[in-house]
């Protein structure tokens, strides 16, 4: 097991000079606290803006879709502002985080909600056979396993730990590029074309999470 404390970043986001910063749009919607995502981007030297303005989102170099909260009300909010269409049409690198991953899938069992369908994947609720051993939500640090050769996973240690807080999970699929085991295997990270999505919170996952965000910003 690689010790992350001894593990140093070999690449920086060198092309981010103060006068030529890329623009990162963080999509603002009725989800939970996104402050920590903004602080994490600030630590990486990125110029991030929290916005629900379709024009600013379309004009950004990279888009991050964060989230904590409940799926059906989040989908309703996105549709009311036509952000569902903006997200579906986007061409630049796009990263969904936590609820953001679930909303990029086809359907979630959380209040039987139809989602954006970028990933043809179903989102289900964890059902523990034994509550003594497996609690729901899945809270804490768990490993990403079976990492694919993918730029967003570049230079990560083997089986890196990331921080999870969730009760619903995306099933494994051909778009799974890293998986995690809790009760059973589920999709830790998904990738399709310009869309990436991570179930854990990279903004709260120590150096590993910072590296994943940095890799995304370098796409």
């Amino acid at each position: 097991m690689t010790d992350v404390r001894c593990w140093v970043f070999t690449s920086g986001i060198g092309h981010l000079t103060p006068d030529n910063k890329m623009k990162i749009a963080v999509i603002k919607y009725n989800s939970g606290n996104v402050q920590s995502v903004l602080y994490a981007l600030e630590r990486l030297g990125a110029d991030a803006e929290l916005t629900d303005d379709p024009e600013l989102i379309r004009a950004a170099d990279k888009v991050i879709f964060p989230g904590q909260g409940e799926a059906s009300s989040a989908m309703r909010y996105l549709k009311e502002r036509k952000l569902d269409q903006v997200i579906s049409d986007i061409k630049q690198p796009f990263l969904g985080v936590c609820l953001g991953l679930q909303l990029l899938c086809e359907h979630t069992e959380e209040n039987d909600t139809e989602c954006l369908g970028i990933f043809p994947v179903k989102v289900k609720r964890f059902v523990p056979e034994n509550s003594q051993e497996f609690k729901v939500p899945h809270v804490g640090w768990n490993e990403l396993e079976n990492l694919a050769d993918n730029p967003i996973l570049k230079d990560l240690p083997a089986n890196p730990f990331v921080y999870y807080v969730h009760s619903f999970y995306a099933e494994l699929s051909e778009f799974t590029i890293a998986q995690t085991h809790y009760i059973h295997d589920f999709s830790g990270i998904l990738h399709r074309d310009n869309y990436y999505a991570i179930q854990a919170h990279p903004e709260k996952s120590g150096l590993v999470g910072e590296k994943i965000l940095e890799n995304f910003l370098s796409l």
């Binding site: 992350v4 640090w141 809790y182």
Partner: protein
């Protein structure tokens, strides 16, 4: 595999850490941001900040501190102490806290747990329970363990879970400060019966106590203060020991 969490707790008064800290690397032993950064770099899995001033006029100082911590560290942290309203929670989450912890307010008005969970999601609502054993029965206490209530600890733990708490932080006042080990019997009983994670607190004195609380006590996480602040146990050393003892831990 999901790992057991090690959580240092910092007591905050007027924006500074209180209780002694004995870190040679610290330029200023009272600066919570610097201490938080050290624990985070050492491999702590989460942090808890307990504001023991908790008066209304000091809230602004706390919010400024929360923002500084949120900007500096990349692991989750919980803020507790004197939180009683939806507005308090909104204020601290906006400042950058990941979770908040409520204690006496929940005992006085249990509905606040439902309201906070509905407003912000269960994932960020930790209910802290202070318990003391009186003639063989475990009762919930408030006001830092000073005031007894008629609530049985086990029944209250079930109730806060049903009302939407995301995690329980269970402190045994009988064990707190003794360094003689956690209250494993009660922790195991509550953790086994509930579907949400239980954070054990009170009694940590040796590395073996942590192994015991995760195995016999069935705790999902363990919290301690002075043994970390005084470097009696280092976090990397503790995690190395637990890993060797077969406890699932983040390296």
């Amino acid at each position: 595999m999901l790992t057991k969490r090690i959580i240092p707790c910092l007591d905050i008064k007027d924006g500074r850490t209180v209780k002694g800290v004995n870190f040679v690397e610290l330029r200023d032993a009272g600066d919570p941001v610097e201490l938080a950064k050290i624990y985070s770099d050492e491999g702590a899995d989460e942090l808890v900040f307990l504001d023991i001033t908790a008066t209304v006029d000091k809230r602004k100082t706390l919010a400024e501190l929360v923002t500084k911590v949120a900007k500096a560290i990349n692991i989750p942290f919980t803020v507790g102490g004197g939180i009683s309203t939806i507005e308090d929670v909104k204020f601290l989450l906006a400042a950058g806290a990941d979770k908040i912890s409520i204690n006496s307010a929940a005992v006085h008005n249990p509905q606040i747990i439902n309201d906070m969970a509905a407003e912000f999601g269960s994932q960020c609502i930790v209910v802290a329970i202070d318990t003391r054993n009186v003639d063989g029965i475990d009762f919930v206490h408030t006001h830092g363990g000073r005031k007894a209530t008629l609530l049985r600890t086990q029944a209250w733990a079930h109730e806060v879970c049903d009302r939407g708490a995301g995690e329980i932080l269970l402190t045994s006042m009988d064990h707190d400060g003794t360094k003689a080990g956690f209250f494993n019997e009660l922790l195991a009983e509550i953790s086994s019966a509930l579907s949400i994670p239980v954070i054990a607190s009170g009694g940590a004195g040796s590395m073996e106590h942590f192994k015991d609380v995760f195995t016999f006590g069935k705790a999902d996480a363990a919290l301690a203060a002075s043994i970390f602040h005084f470097k009696e146990i280092g976090i990397p050393e503790l995690k190395g020991y637990l890993g060797n003892e077969g406890v699932s831990i983040r390296k």
